[in-house]
Amino acid sequence: MTQLPASTAKKLGLVIDLDTCVGCHACVISCKGWNTENYGAPLSDQDAYGANPSGTFLNRVHSYEVQPEAGTAQLIHFPKSCLHCDDAPCVTVCPTGASYKRVEDGIVLVNESDCIGCGLCAWACPYGARELDAKEGVMKKCTLCVDRIYNENLPEEDRVPACVRTCPAGARHFGDLGDAESEVSQLVAARGGFDLMPEQGTKPVNKYLPPRPKDVAPEFDVLAPFLDPVATDGKGFAHWLDKALSALPGGAK
């Protein structure tokens, strides 16, 4: 059913720390690995070993260079997947009811057996979170690893999305963003978590934590005094050596 629920009991989602992300793409790989062999159709690749490889991914990491008015540019790695929006425009445009937002936890899912692959949901999503699988002809998107987070066959520490479980930098956090007391909500409050494209009115559940301001290193270098040019004062051994070497045929003047 493509009508959005008025409210959801929980708002499960991700908090992504742009300060901590090192851009290793491990989340991309673990996401593809888990989701290609679990919920729904596999995530196909086309020409995977050829000249123009292309494939379906539910999570991609961009890298941006941000140039402040003064100082050096910053490189910021930027993982992006479905934001499980409260006001998800991808759900309401679906003509078949294949796209829906769950009342119990707010996860946005696609019922693949109802999807006709018209692509309109991908058109409606400002974030590029949905990709039409070229082989299956159905829309694929992040499921927030719905088949992990409630899966009692997995050890408890694995009951989080694959991207969160695998992140070596601890840049990805999973939890209930509808609960102000949850760890993720407190993290968002403490670090000033923000929405992507708030002007689009999608009310994303996932939040991004901004990079912390760069501190300025004081000028210190214990080796610097020893590395100063030594032959400028015209005295001592170094001066003699400088002159002697310069006097050699072909020596630097």
Partner: protein
């Protein structure tokens, strides 16, 4: 946006077909017998042919029937329902003319309204999208409707109406181009809001997520199309509006009428190609492109 052939053909020819059904429905022409059969065949070939073409861009066309279920929220679903309902009503109206020489006027009026509703719902599929600022404007449905009814008038030989509607469509199109060219900038969405990093400084896409292309880039980023956009606008305007009006103003002959129609259809095809190729989807911003 990627200008998909199937969608360009669909919007052009179903627009024309439903435009003709509108004029048939309101009784602007009431052919009977074999002539009615010919008129309705032309209208249905265009309308149904266009609708069938649109199914070619589906990943799973065999499930298309499911698309009639979500009319409460989805413009695409509403379009499907309006199209089928209109075609059924007009089939009965047409049968009255073909077999019984009867004008079932109330049915015709319902069918005409349905034809307008179908074109309107088609246009709203595009106009509803906040993600494509160029389309999200009242001129999108206005233009789709005037082009459809204007093209239908041309096809139905309603010369005066066609002249007025084509002139109106030309005006709307020029207005749409002028406002559309600044729509993305006015939308407030840019790389700073897309990444939320604007408070630090100027954001530049440094590395894309993959070395190759992907579905999003193929579907939403169409750079090549804009290169010749200005020239194509002139060509489209001449073919869709100027030449048909000139041909209609000449002393009437069926040859001029046919040329006006052919020129108009060619022009609308170019217009639709531009409609997609020039439209910028905000997701391109994540790739530093549009």
């Amino acid at each position: 946006m990627h200008p998909a052939k199937s969608v360009i053909i669909f919007t052009t020819f179903s627009g024309l077909g439903f435009g003709l059904l509108f004029w048939l429905g309101i009784g602007a022409i009431t052919p009977t017998g074999w002539m009615a059969f010919v008129w309705f065949t032309i209208a249905y070939l265009a309308a149904v042919g266009g609708l069938l073409a649109s199914t070619f861009h589906l990943g799973r066309p065999e499930r298309a029937i499911k698309a009639f279920s979500q009319w409460q929220t989805s413009w695409l679903s509403r379009e499907g329902i309006c199209a089928v309902a209109t075609l059924l009503v007009m089939a009965v109206y047409g049968a009255g003319l073909v077999f019984f020489d009867r004008v079932l006027a109330p049915l015709g009026w319902i069918g005409a309204l349905g034809a307008l509703a179908t074109v309107f719902t088609t246009s709203m599929i595009y106009a509803q999208l906040k993600t494509v600022p160029r389309w999200r404007h009242w001129s999108t449905p206005a233009l789709f409707l005037t082009l459809s009814v204007g093209g239908g008038a041309l096809l139905a030989g309603q010369v005066t109406e066609a002249l007025v509607l084509l002139a109106l469509a030309a005006g709307l199109q020029v207005y749409g181009w002028i406002t559309g060219d600044t729509a993305l900038a006015r939308s407030g969405t840019d790389m700073a809001t897309a990444t939320g990093l604007g408070h630090i400084g100027t954001v530049r896409a440094f590395e894309p997520p993959h070395t190759g292309t992907n579905y999003l880039m193929r579907e939403f980023i169409h750079v090549v199309g804009r290169k010749h956009a200005q020239a194509l606008r002139v060509i489209a305007a001449v073919l869709a509006f100027v030449l048909p009006v000139v041909f209609l103003l000449l002393p009437f002959s069926h040859i001029w009428g046919a040329l006006a129609l052919v020129s108009h259809i060619a022009g609308v095809l170019v217009l639709r190609w531009l409609f997609f190729a020039q439209a910028e989807h905000v997701v391109g911003l994540y790739y530093g492109k549009r």
